[in-house]
């Protein structure tokens, strides 16, 4: 590991959560505008986290603190991996670990909503993980390597060869951003039958750390999406934002679906599309 890699990794560690926070801010503002509201300031998510950091709480379980920190570590590790040009598949697995810790912590909670949320979180994982994996496999196949650098170094925009993974990736972004129609485990804005679902029993500092982990996750997901047009940093930024914006629009024009619909329809459909793309790459 040379100095360059180390610096990149460090940048990933620090910048990725900040970028995620900024994305959350953009999300809040744009969503407000789509709903004809003025909305909060752009930095609102940071204030939220700052506030949560300084609250005194009684924990819901003695184990949650542990899982929260593990989740945060996993999310940050996936950022670092990606930033340092690591293996995208591994980065994805590390991120899935983060989600698993969140769910585990929720299982440890005491409220029934927390446990229900944990179940649903797992079903979400089940729905989006294969699609995301196959999308990454497609990228790796098209670019000829599994590490981030070789995917970014691919000739021309990958999108042209991977049109069918786009629905899958949008689905992943929607789930990861906890947006309608797939904010099934923990609703993002308006609150649903699961209250805050998997987040119900997290509070105060734990919740703040979880929010940081969430930001890091969002960055990773959008970043991987941006590989679709990785001909330059600006193009990548634009692609990432395009995915974010698409998610916000879809959030605002659709009702929330149930996990049964997600698992029985959306997930198989997007998976089949992505698989078709993969097969097509092989036939090419």
């Amino acid at each position: 590991m040379n100095l360059n890699t180390f610096l990149l990794a460090l940048a990933g560690l620090v910048l990725a959560p900040l970028l995620g926070g900024l994305a959350a801010g953009v999300d809040r503002v744009v969503t407000a505008r789509l709903q004809s509201r003025l909305g909060p300031p752009l930095l609102q998510p940071f204030f939220d986290v700052g506030k949560l950091m300084s609250k005194a709480i009684a924990p819901a379980s003695h184990w949650q603190g542990l899982f929260v920190r593990w989740a945060l570590a996993a999310s940050l590790a996936s950022d670092v991996l990606l930033a340092a040009g690591g293996d995208v598949l591994m980065c994805f697995f590390v991120q899935a670990a983060s989600a698993s810790f969140v769910a585990l912590g929720a299982f440890c909670g005491s409220s029934p909503y927390s446990k229900l949320g944990a179940q649903r979180e797992l079903f979400q994982l089940l729905a989006y993980e294969p699609v995301f994996l196959v999308a990454i496999l497609c990228m790796a196949k098209a670019a000829g390597g599994f590490d981030a650098f070789s995917i970014m170094a691919a000739q021309g925009p990958l999108l042209l060869r991977l049109p069918l993974v786009v629905p899958g990736l949008v689905f992943v972004v929607l789930v990861k951003l906890r947006k309608s129609p797939f904010d099934i485990a923990a609703s993002h804005h308006m609150h649903q039958e699961v209250v805050r679902g998997v987040y119900t029993d997290y509070a105060g500092r734990d919740f703040a750390l979880l929010e940081l982990a969430h930001w890091a996750d969002v960055t990773v997901v959008l970043w991987i999406c941006s590989f679709l047009w990785a001909t330059g940093p600006l193009q990548m930024l634009a692609t990432g934002l395009a995915f974010l914006f698409a998610a916000l629009i879809i959030d605002n024009i659709s009702a929330r679906l149930t996990w049964r619909t997600m698992l029985k329809r959306t997930a198989p459909l997007t998976l089949i599309l992505a698989t078709a793309n993969l097969v097509w790459l092989y036939l090419e």
Binding site: L34, S36, I253
Partner: protein, 136 residues
């Protein structure tokens, strides 16, 4: 999908939000806001207190031992702003502002005291001394 035109229109149109408190819209003319008593005009007849559906008004004649003083007390936390008292007041000294009553951080009542009208009551010379007194 069908909501798309609406949200896009929202995005590009001006937000519907009124930026209160930086921008305060003018109240409607007859809005039933804060209840005020021009105590100079009050004759402490007690009509308002009897009619009030919330029973949040008390009118005392000869309060504080002084037979010439009257006290009009509004438990404003219980007032529902119905305006029944305003309609009933014979001297029209009660009125409702068009703006809402400001929020408070403590429990309080409003007591206004004034001079009782000399008998026979004449509206014009009821020299009132208004005092805002709040008690916890």
């Amino acid at each position: 999908m069908r909501m798309l035109p609406t949200v896009l229109a929202n995005l590009f149109a001006k937000a519907a939000t009124r930026n209160y408190p930086h921008f305060v819209r003018e109240s409607f003319e007859h809005a039933r806001g804060e209840l005020v008593n021009d105590i100079k005009g009050c004759i402490f007849c007690g009509t308002c207190a009897r009619k009030c559906p919330s029973q949040c008004l008390t009118v005392a004649r000869g309060a504080a031992g002084d037979k010439t003083e009257g006290a009009w007390t509004l438990e404003f936390f219980a007032c529902v702003g119905c305006g029944v008292c305003v309609d009933a007041c014979p001297t029209r000294c009660l009125s409702q502002k068009a703006t809402h009553r400001p929020v408070a951080v403590e429990r309080a009542v409003i007591t206004l005291t004034g001079r009782l009208p000399e008998r026979p009551a004449r509206k014009d010379n009821a020299a009132g001394k208004a005092a805002d007194k709040t008690e916890a």
